[in-house]
Amino acid sequence: MYKILNAFLKINRRWIFLLVLLGVLIPLVLGKGLTRSYPGAEVVKVYDFLNNLEEGDIIILSMDYDPATIPELNPMARALLRQCFNKGIRVVSLTLHPAGPGVVITLVDELLREYSQPGVNPDGSVRPVREYGEDIVFLGYKVGTAVNILALGEDVRLSWPQDYAGVELPAYGSDPTQTTLPLMCDVQNYNDVKCVVTISGTRIPEYWVAYGYQRYHVKVATGCTAVMFADFYPYLQTGQMIGLIPGMKGAADYEELINRPARAMVGMLPQSIVHLMIVGFIILGNIAYFIVRRWEKRGGGDR
């Protein structure tokens, strides 16, 4: 028994790797997912804020993440964009992460394709047609985090004279029929947008708070990886952020809120399995540890 327990404590970590792999692989191969999620208060705050905006209002969506965090952050951005498109909120999207443009283009492209024809959403609501330039604009990436956030407080054209495709932004307040980017006729700086939603796996939301909120008092909502969640909590409490969407759980909550279960919901089943597996490992490991230590203290050993 001692031998078995001791061997368990010193188990080769490859066995743990294998179990984790199976825990994720099996539900995914079978294609099962959780059916519902239980939204947390900090997610509901973001949802409510956007939901209370009027049709035609503008927000800045800053997708400051790289491909490495796609699985966690893309479902979130997708759900947010769907909410905006369904409600008619116009989105100025940009990225402050050097590896961001590829990610954003793929995502925006996917959603614009989804919203290219009038139709019905899976929950039965009407799916309107949304177009690039009219309802969403992607400005691309510019080097320098703080400087671009500050520039947005003065004039978006300081940092982004063109959109990602190289189309010149129209002058603020100019005739929207004369340009392919009518949305940008209404945007000069933070005064024209209702809030900034930054989605990131990095410290960039802190920059948004320090420069966007602190200097220009624009409201900031954050979508972050689960690991940054605890880090941003102080900002939530001091009122520097209006809400937080943490990780895949947050994304699943958001999918629940907009009534459109998607990839985050599917992912929550393997999540639950592996979480419980790790918890089980820790508990068993500690039990074994205490038994072994007790035997060793008694001077026992091999038996």
């Binding site: 994720v24 690991v227 990780g247 895949m248 592996v274």
Partner: protein, 292 residues
């Protein structure tokens, strides 16, 4: 080296293969939105490289080494290219060219003067970062390497100067305020709120108790943590005991962070598995054999 030429040829071959792949094999979907052979190859290469990296979990092996070195090679130059196109070219080269054109024009028109032509000419100023940057390249010289320090001095000094007030703003002043009041609500409410105690004593409930002690607990936690970070006093006696409590708060905080992170990490694995199973295997490989 005997096989120097072999190496050279292999290098050339690799370069041609990578370059060829980058040009043709990954070219995206066609106009009719159907999946092209190119995308098929691109995703397959991605999937194979993904599997190569996972072999590291078993042990280090040539497959992993290959993937690792390919990743380092393709990513090392990435930011040089991105910075060049996004920053150096528009903010330096283009501006300098425009600046000199302006001077030329002014001279041709006979309106050239020092203030307009040089001092307030953005193009001339754009030379400065070029000079500072160029000084760094002197690191290649054994004798003049110290010139690079001028650039470091500029860079570091500026960064430190920017940090100090912002550091006070975000890490100190705002944190002090956050310790005194919860300011998320429109009307800031005190962290140490006697109202909650009043409520608890008039209607004692479990939730009321937690609500009442949460504020004071935060305050105690912050103070004890700060005491733990005291360097110039020995951590003994009562002072040491507070420091110990500070460590406990740190440990609970770390544990909570750890627990909250597990989800993020598994999300990543799910993302990769999703790619391998759905996008690649079910989407691309099975149809080849008439499945999917």
């Amino acid at each position: 080296m005997k096989n120097k030429w072999l190496m050279f040829l292999m290098g050339l071959g690799m370069a041609v293969v990578v370059g060829f792949l980058s040009h043709f094999m990954f070219y995206t979907t066609g106009e009719d939105q159907t999946l092209q052979m190119h995308t098929w190859l691109g995703l397959t290469v991605a999937a194979i490289l993904t599997l190569f990296i996972y072999t590291f979990l078993y042990k280090d092996n040539p497959l992993y080494k290959f993937a690792e070195h390919l990743l380092v090679g393709t990513s090392a130059g990435y930011y040089l290219v991105v910075y060049y196109h996004n920053s150096v070219k528009p903010n330096m080269i283009d501006q300098i060219v425009a600046g000199f054109q302006q001077i030329g024009q002014m001279r041709a028109e006979g309106t050239f003067n020092f203030v307009d032509g040089i001092l307030t000419n953005a193009g001339i100023w754009a030379i400065v970062p070029g000079i500072i940057g160029f000084l760094i390249l002197f690191r290649l010289s054994r004798k003049l390497g110290w010139l690079a320090r001028y650039s470091f001095g500029f860079y570091i000094g500026t960064a430190m100067g920017m940090y100090i007030p912002v550091g006070f703003q975000a890490s100190i002043v705002e944190q002090i305020r956050g310790t005194i009041v919860h300011s998320a609500a429109a009307e800031p409410t005190p962290v140490f709120n006697l109202v909650y105690f009043g409520e608890f004593f008039s209607h004692p409930t479990w939730g009321g108790f937690v609500q009442a002690i949460s504020g004071p607990l935060i305050i105690v936690g912050i103070f004890c943590t700060l005491i733990y970070f005291f360097f110039s006093k020995e951590h003994t006696g009562v002072f040491g005991a507070f420091g110990k409590v500070g460590i406990w708060f740190l440990m609970v905080g770390f544990g909570a962070s750890f627990g909250a992170t597990v989800m993020a990490r598994i999300s990543l694995l799910i993302g990769r598995m999703d790619f391998l199973i759905n996008d690649w295997f079910k989407g691309l490989i099975l149809p080849l054999f008439g499945g999917g």
